[in-house]
Amino acid sequence: MTSRETLALAAVALPALTALVVAVVPRRAVQPAALAGLVLSGGVGIALAIAALADPADLTVTRWVVIDAAAGLMTGVIGLVGLASALASPSYLRTVTSGLFGARHGMRAYYAALAAFVAVLTAVPLAGNLGAAWLLVEATTAASAILVGWSGKPRALEAGWKYLLLTSLGLGFSLLGIVLLASVAPGGSLDALSWRSLSADVPAGETTLVAYLLVVVGLAAKIGWAPVHNWLPDAHSEAPPPVSALLSAALLPAVLLVAWRAERALEPAVGESAGRSVLIGFGLVSLTVAIPFLWRPLAWKRLLAYSSLEHMGVIALGVGFATPLALAGVAVHIAGHAVAKALGFYAATPLLGHEPRAAGHAVTGIARTQPSLGATMGISLGALAGLPPHPSF
């Protein structure tokens, strides 16, 4: 096993192990165990990113695992945001008295679900197989839906239910596409769905094109691309802020990476123009839907959610154009968006403590009453708006 493969295994296994440990340790040890495990796994994810990006030509591609620059970038982003979300969680949890699992088991359930979410999320960009990637994406839904509804408030229950239902239904259509692909791929087994086999062996034809459309449309429901984005503003705005950061900064681009890999793998069969047009179409529709909402005064987290829709649209355009410059821009954009968006969501915890009305309404005057909080929100918004010197400029 190479050092990269060891790091990849550790990046997935550590948070999974953390989830198990958190589930069984005594109550007073839950938070320290969770933070230690998630900080360590975040560090491993960042180390894997450095190793993968330092030498992008050195690839690990098997039937089950792919470690390339794209996977490295995403594991780094997930590691960084996962680590930061873990550290931001104690201050959020201090503001909550009960939740979906009651006061007694709430903290344990929160950290176990958070660690499980980070584990499956880290595995998504490393999956070397469309079938395995689908299973992992669906598993992120189960872990993160619990976190979205974790506060147990009516609005959080509504958001969590919508998220669970709409993304599961969307991913059902993706799975239909995968079954169609398996029916035309030689062998028809899970092995035939590896990125390499899809690219080399899937024949061109009507069935492959329909399968590709179903796969991407289903994944679009999870990425939050318009017009299948209905869950996104609700889930991002009602989830605990550290979870919203992970959803927006890490989950959406990780699933987008799966859609991009599917497009790349099926491009020889469906044609370059058809494959890329679908991504560009989703990008344009997402931008068109997001922009009117970004002009309106919205509650802080809801504004950030619509910003996610916009940024996923921009990234879709980048991967749709697919020139080397566009893909380099996408990489920078994903990293820049992750930092700026996570910062914005982390600011929501002190914002809601200072001004509870901000949960449902646009608020003003924060910079006057809380200058450091106002400055943090300003930096986040400026970066998300693409103002220089932020990389997304």
Binding site: L135, E158, L164, G172, V179
Partner: protein, 145 residues
């Protein structure tokens, strides 16, 4: 997995008896019409995929269409969850009927995933029932822009 899922539904139905029937958002004939139209559209739009038999292809698409229609038109949380189960049942049928017997990996993975989603959905259903006194999603319409 199927037995586990059935047991889960039995337990949750017993634990959360609705005080009165949850009305669907759409009348019965309209629901049936929509489901049949959706199934016919799927059969017309999706090209032959080469499953073991043509009947299996149609059954797969019909189950997916009926499940999607149930999710879209029913308001009860448990009915919506059953819609998702129908969709996944159709897909597992497709996986089983793949030429050469399909992949055990796909079938097991989908089944495990479905149980996981169903467990999480049941947690939500119980909490929604406790909060609103019913599993009627009509109560879940406060988030709007």
């Amino acid at each position: 997995m199927g037995v586990a899922l059935a047991a889960l539904f039995l337990v949750i139905v017993a634990r959360t008896r609705e005080p009165r029937p949850v009305r669907a958002g759409v009348a019965p004939f309209a629901r049936a019409g929509l489901a049949i139209l959706l199934a016919l559209a799927f059969v017309w739009l999706v090209p032959p995929v080469g499953l073991e038999t043509e009947q299996a292809e149609r059954a797969m698409l019909a189950l997916v269409a009926f499940g999607a229609a149930v999710v879209a038109t029913r308001r009860a949380t448990l009915h919506q969850l059953l819609g998702i189960v129908m969709v996944e049942n159709g897909l597992v049928l497709g996986a089983i009927e793949l030429p050469g017997g399909g992949s055990l990996g796909i079938e097991l993975g989908v089944a495990l995933d479905l149980v996981l989603i169903a467990v999480v959905a049941v947690v939500f259903h119980e909490r929604i029932f406790a909060e609103f006194g019913s599993g009627d999603t009509a109560a879940l319409e406060s988030l709007r822009d």
